[in-house]
């Protein structure tokens, strides 16, 4: 096509799908794919990880979580290690499974770690509504949900990485639709293509992005039309709006971004785990040589981190990017060859 370009994806599932398919090897050198802050576990701050671990160590508390969070190393230890030392940590497939867990353990307090972007937040919102309606007394939520568009804006504002457009997350957009991404075209004159997860989807999206670049257009297009409508999922959006409100959030790699996270609004704030367990977490810090932050911002690729494959491997991870199933470093380690 004769166009050179750098595109970023902001979805861990895209990171893995692209790495697993070996797509990058098929692309000409002039087209570069960069991973951004698309892994919700990876962008969880060290302090939030430490808080979750502290909860797991509390007697009478069961921490319920998606599997991905379990091996992330906090300042001192991980949830998995807390479990090995006697803490209760349960891996759940669905947030709705936390209801039966709470009912089966009436003398314990169950805390569900609500991690995920806009694909997952509606599910937790619906779960909270049901928990309240059913009057379950021993279940609360540590809300760590984050929102993709504000993080993209924060990243672009930093001007660290030169980009020509975005591969937009297919399932986040199944919920949000395309409107929340119009700022890319309006404020930054950058195109975005909402993309599915098969290798063919990504190739088609790249074709669409390169075509836009060649024609000097900046539109938000939908490649993943079989699953994404421009207006998104109205019911999911309504449920999110009823239960959550935007609040600032602390992103690993990006710092505190206003209105980039979610918090429980009334009448649901009683289900906030931080209210039920006001633990004081001090001394949180990332491993000094860990460069997850720069990987998450697309400033360096995983293999440019000096710890990659040496001090930091999936079996002994230093940071979340190497241990999360959607982390850039894990994807590169498992699926890409040493250049």
């Amino acid at each position: 096509m004769g166009v050179s370009a750098r595109f970023m994806e902001v979805c861990g599932t895209h990171t893995v799908s692209i790495a697993r398919s070996g797509l990058k090897k098929l692309l000409p050198d002039s087209v570069k794919l960069i991973s951004g802050p698309g892994c919700p576990v990876c962008v969880t701050s060290q302090e939030d990880i430490d808080y979750a671990v502290a909860l797991a160590r509390q007697p009478g508390v069961i921490v319920a979580t998606f599997g991905d969070m379990v091996r992330v190393p906090g300042t001192e230890t991980s949830l998995l290690e807390a479990r090995a030392s006697g803490g209760r940590v349960e891996v759940l497939y669905s947030p709705m499974d936390s209801l039966s867990l709470a009912r089966e353990n009436p003398k314990e307090e169950v805390v569900f770690l609500a991690v995920g972007f806009e694909t997952t937040a509606p599910l937790i919102a619906r779960t909270v509504q049901i928990v309240r309606a059913e009057g379950i007394p021993n279940l609360s939520f540590l809300v760590l949900h984050k929102l993709i568009p504000p993080a993209m804006r924060a990243l672009l504002t930093r001007k660290e990485v030169q980009l020509d457009g975005f591969i937009l997350p297919g399932h986040v957009c199944a919920v949000l639709g395309s409107r929340p991404f119009l700022f890319l075209k309006e404020e930054f004159h950058l195109p975005g293509v909402i993309t599915g997860f098969e290798p063919e989807d990504v190739l088609l999206a790249l074709f669409m992005l390169l075509k836009q670049k060649k024609e000097d257009r900046a539109e938000i297009e939908i490649q993943y039309r079989r699953a994404v409508k421009p207006e998104g999922n109205i019911q999911a959006l309504k449920t999110m709006e009823e239960v959550f409100e935007p609040q600032e959030a602390n992103w690993r790699g990006l710092g505190v971004i206003p209105d980039s996270g979610l918090g429980l609004r009334e009448p649901y704030s009683g289900f906030d785990a931080r209210r039920r367990f006001p633990l004081n977490i001090t001394g949180s810090r990332e491993y000094p040589e860990c460069r997850c932050g720069e990987v998450l911002r697309g400033v360096i690729s995983p293999r440019e981190c000096p710890l990659f494959g040496k001090a930091c491997t999936p079996d002994s991870p230093v940071g979340p990017c190497m241990v999360s199933s959607e982390g850039s470093c894990a994807a590169s380690y498992h699926y890409e060859e040493r250049p």
Binding site: C11, G12, T13, C39, P40, V41, F66, D68, Y93, S94, P95, M96, D97, G116, F117, T119, T120, P122, L123, R126, P169, G170, H171, V172, A174, V175, G196, F197, E200, D201, L203, L204, F207, Q223, R225, R226, A227, V228, N233, Q235, A236, T239, S325, E326
Partner: protein, 72 residues
Amino acid sequence: MCLGIPAKVVEIKEQEALVEVAGLKQKIRLDFVPEVKVGDYVIVHAGFGISILEESEAQETLKLLKEADVIP
């Protein structure tokens, strides 16, 4: 985590459906896909349907892929 799997709806009972993926059956919630019908394919995420797959759009994508020589 965004790994939404397309699953075929085989049975609907109020707010829940039984879906099938690769021979395995799973129960999902229909809160976000209330208009789903038996025989539809839905994207499933953490026990909830989040989107109904539009067959006509799927066919359109396949057509584009064939034209771009991405698939035979």
